[in-house]
């Protein structure tokens, strides 16, 4: 893409509170329905072993994200566990270093090291 430094100012649009309230209502309804429909599902225990992989995935990755929006924030690599058919797969996801998962992970790693 073209590298240029520009600042664009745009006029704010007014939000119609009535339409906003209506959307809010639709959203809540959809959420409630979704939960309701699952009430009677049996509760299968989720007990899947953690896939074996190298620890300490933390990286100060500065790789360009898809959006190409300037220097990206520091991230921490996590593995996302998914299923393809019945096969287990892991895929890498870059979580922002300040996301709750990443912060918690760093804290627990720190604690581990101090032990």
């Amino acid at each position: 893409s073209m590298d240029e430094e520009i600042v664009v100012t745009r006029e704010e649009e007014m939000v119609d509170p009535e339409a906003e309230a209506e959307f809010e209502h639709e959203y809540a309804k959809l959420m409630a329905e979704s939960l309701e429909s699952r009430k009677l599902e049996r509760k299968p225990i989720f007990d899947v072993p953690i896939p074996v992989m190298a620890k300490n995935r933390e990286s100060q990755s500065s790789q360009e994200t898809e959006t190409g929006a300037g220097p990206s924030a520091p991230t921490m690599a996590f593995a996302l566990l998914t299923k393809k058919g019945n096969r287990q797969q892991t895929k890498t996801v870059e979580l922002p270093s300040n996301s709750t998962f990443a912060v918690a992970m760093r804290n627990s790693q720190q604690a581990e090291r101090e032990e």
Partner: protein
């Protein structure tokens, strides 16, 4: 068919573009499995991201990521039970490892965890937060991407969702047609939300103009024509004939237009042929000349032995309109089409930019071009350091020289090719010639239909440069063969075409500067090239969408040259014109507050001639680069009322008449006096080519030409060489002496064309050494602008009446002007 343009490529948004806003970075979009449409994670000005907005309004719940996203084409689902309802899904982390997994909130994540479980179910985090997917799963589009996307408001999204319930294939165009049923088009605006908004306003206007043009041109068939034939080498056939309907002035036939000629009589087998217009009616003759395009071996059937019973009609081409529409579309969907700065400027957004670091040349004067004055140097300096600039060039201020010098420096400093455009071929040729003088490598790209039209810069044209090419032996040989036999074997023809295309590409990519008309910039031969730097001359004479054609080829720096105080674009459809299609981009940018850099020194007119235009149209800022003495032709004995002031308003009270066609006007008294003035100039030694006669009406133009022929006492040939034309035809040009015949002279009706201040400005600023205005002061003075002009002439004792041999100062009292002229 011969000369047919290859298919022009349309730029389309990819199928995975957000159905609301068009954003299409693979990492930022997901596919809704309920309707297979794609949505992005931007919010625009709304509270919810586009994905969430859609899912809620359409009550769809399942999505899939893009194959090229970080996670590939993953369908988001609960690892444990497989539910795909995104409103139920969330992530849980492993207790002591950097692993996460998607689980549904109910029931999988609400089950009590077994004691030694390695997953931390208690830290379940929903996939949708703040009405958006977690940004590390579906990225938020970059600011610049969001700014360039369609700006869609929540009510519009709601409308679109309603429409999709009826028709899943509906798009924004359907939304437009659904909402606008009235037949008045939406007027142009100063600012646009986004390029789609821009396209939604201009698209219908261009369509209206195109439909109107088509209707008008196709209705122009004329029969009972008498044809004179001419036959040249290389099997070229020319047909000359007169088109009586041309006089109406509705149809502007142009060189390069295509016409079909048919034989309707019985002396020859039925025949029809198509050709390009090579000549249009001018002061030499009213003939139209067509060069026929004949298929090989078809020449025998041409009925050259017949002269009567022909019929001609216009072959209408949508090319120019198609290219405007395509340019607007490219502007909307191709983020490489223009830089972010230009993009937002064109839409009227407020953009701040980090100042460019220009390479200011040590020497401003370009090789082969004249020296520059301070205002020209100021303009050049400003242009080199700004990504978008406007240069206003009042009459005679050296606009072409300034443009050519700017192009020289741009080509030298920017290290990229410069694209130079203007709306008309004449203007492009003039500029092209100047640029060539600086020593830059120039290519003039002409439409196929104009390749045979003579031009002073013919040798710079792409097709000539290909012909002259001497590096490719095989191509030269094929060219020779083709010239000799007029035809090649199909295999050779194929080879010839591909070699020609190769040669064209090579010449174009080696050029410093490519020159073509604005519409020509849409030529498929330029499609693969990028032009970072674009200069558009006479930009105030093209409609905005026309200007877009050269700009969307990758422009980062644009220079628009023109003068919004002179005539603007010609729009034939009145509704489209009224809606604002007749406003140029230059003018809109001025209205938006961009100050044009004005060239302030005029080198054309005698100072007495520039005074009124300077005061009326340029805030009195126009300075004279020529003195009175330089603009007096002492040897010319002409009865100017004031010796040092070669100008006069000659009062003529004869009445106007409707011309024979019923659609134009003429004025016999004025025509006869035009002849007297012209004859007097001849007798004083002025050459015919130094005189121009301007009249706004086609009826009067043709009447003056015949009056001079019939009544003129000087050599007939001389009168033929005097150019008689409309104000519009004289724009951008000059003559030593100008005679202006105003024509309109009636008690009650308006003064039509003459009321446009821009037309008056052009008419008054063509003459270098002398101006004679012939008109009815009583009628014209009702009009405020003309009232001022008449007072100006009267105050200077230059308003006269009586016979040319005995002119007297007129003491006529003027009518009271109506307060406004717009």
């Amino acid at each position: 068919p011969i000369g047919a343009a290859p298919e022009e490529e349309a730029v389309e948004l990819p199928p995975h573009a957000c159905a609301y806003c068009g954003i299409h970075s693979p990492g930022c979009v997901v596919k809704c499995l309920g309707c297979r449409k794609w949505f992005c994670s931007s919010r625009g000005n709304a509270q919810s991201s586009h994905i969430v907005n859609h899912l809620v309004r359409a009550r769809h719940k399942e999505v899939q990521l893009h194959p090229e996203s970080q996670l590939g084409d993953t369908t988001l689902e609960c690892y444990n039970c497989g539910t795909k309802n995104v409103f139920l899904l969330g992530f849980i982390p492993a207790k002591s490892d950097t692993v996460v997994v998607l689980l549904c909130r109910q029931p999988c994540a609400s089950a009590p965890s077994s004691k030694d479980m390695s997953w931390d179910i208690s830290r379940w985090q929903p996939l949708i937060e703040n009405r958006s997917f977690l940004p590390w799963l579906v990225a938020t589009p970059s600011d610049s991407e969001q700014l360039r996307a369609r700006h869609i408001s929540p009510p519009t999204m709601a409308k679109l969702e309603e429409l999709w319930k009826e028709n899943p294939d509906a798009n924004f165009a359907s939304l437009e047609t659904a909402s606008t049923t009235e037949d008045e088009p939406n007027p142009v605006l100063l600012k646009y939300d986004d390029p789609f908004h821009y396209q939604n306003i201009f698209g219908p206007l261009v369509k209206m103009e195109s439909d109107y043009d088509k209707k008008l041109k196709e209705a122009q068939s004329e029969d009972n024509l008498t044809v004179n034939w001419d036959h040249g080498l290389n099997n070229k056939y020319w047909a000359s004939f007169r088109l009586p309907k041309m006089e109406s002035g509705d149809v502007k036939l142009a060189v390069g237009d295509e016409m079909r000629l048919r034989y309707m009589g019985n002396l020859h087998a039925a025949w029809e042929g198509v050709g390009y217009v090579m000549k249009i009616p001018d002061n030499k003759s009213d003939d139209v000349q067509l060069e026929l395009r004949l298929a090989p071996k078809a020449e025998k059937s041409v009925p050259t032995d017949c002269t009567l019973n022909f019929m001609a009609d216009y072959v209408w081409k949508a090319t120019s309109y198609d290219r405007m529409q395509l340019a607007m579309k490219t502007f909307a969907v191709d983020e490489q089409s223009v830089s972010g700065y230009i993009f937002h400027k064109l839409l009227g957004h407020h953009v701040a930019v980090a100042a460019m670091k220009p390479t200011i040349p040590k020497q401003f004067q370009a090789p082969g071009l004249p020296e520059l004055n301070p205002s020209q140097i100021k303009a050049i300096k400003a242009v080199l350091s700004t990504p978008l600039s406007l240069i206003q060039g009042p009459p005679g201020t050296g606009k072409t020289v300034t443009s050519a010098t700017i192009i020289y420096h741009l080509a030298k400093t920017s290290n990229s090719q410069v694209l130079v455009c203007a709306p008309s071929n004449v203007a492009v040729d003039q500029l092209c010639e100047r640029i060539h003088k600086t020593g830059l490598k120039v290519v003039r790209l002409t439409a196929k239909s104009r390749e045979d039209v003579e031009s002073s810069v013919g040798f710079l044209s792409l097709h000539k440069q290909v012909e002259m090419n001497d590096t490719n032996q095989e191509l030269s040989k094929l060219q020779e063969l083709k010239a000799q036999f007029d035809q090649l074997s199909s295999q050779d023809e194929k080879k010839f075409k591909s070699l020609t295309r190769m040669a064209e590409r090579e010449i174009l990519s080696n050029a410093d500067v490519v020159c073509c008309t604005c519409v020509g910039a849409g030529d498929p031969r330029l499609a693969k090239l990028k032009f970072r730097t674009v200069l558009i001359d006479e930009s105030t004479q093209s409609a905005e969408p026309e200007c877009m054609i050269p700009l969307v080829l990758g422009c980062k720096q644009a220079v628009l040259v023109g003068d919004h105080k002179q005539l603007g674009p010609v729009i034939m459809n009145k509704k489209a014109a009224k809606a604002g299609l007749n406003q140029s981009l230059f003018e809109r940018l001025v209205l938006l507050g961009m100050a044009p850099i004005r060239l302030n020194t005029q080198y054309r007119m005698h100072p007495c001639l520039s005074e009124y235009p300077s005061n009326m149209f340029y805030d009195g800022t126009l300075q004279n680069g020529v003195t009175q003495h330089m603009r007096i032709r002492r040897e010319v004995d002409f009865p100017w009322p004031v010796a040092d002031m070669p100008m006069m308003f000659w009062s003529n009270l004869g009445t106007e008449e409707i011309s024979a066609s019923g659609t134009s006007y003429l004025n016999r008294t004025e025509a006869s006096n035009v002849e007297k003035v012209v004859t007097r100039f001849f007798k004083a030694g002025v050459k015919p080519t130094e005189i121009g006669v301007i009249t706004p009406y086609e009826g009067q133009r043709s009447y003056i030409v015949s009056t001079m022929q019939n009544v003129g006492t000087f050599k007939k040939e001389s009168y033929k060489e005097v150019e008689v034309a409309s104000v519009d035809a004289f724009q951008g040009r000059e003559k030593d002496f100008i005679v202006l015949s105003c024509v309109r002279s009636n008690d009650n009706q308006g003064i039509g064309f003459l009321s446009d201040p821009r037309r008056l400005n052009v008419a008054l600023t063509r003459a270098k050494y002398g101006l004679v205005i012939i008109g009815n002061p009583k009628v014209l003075s009702k009009h405020e602008l003309w009232h001022h002009l008449l007072v100006h002439f009267k105050d200077r004792k230059c308003l006269v009446e009586g016979p040319l041999t005995n002119l007297q100062a007129s003491l006529l009292q003027f009518s009271r002007p109506k307060p406004s002229y717009r």
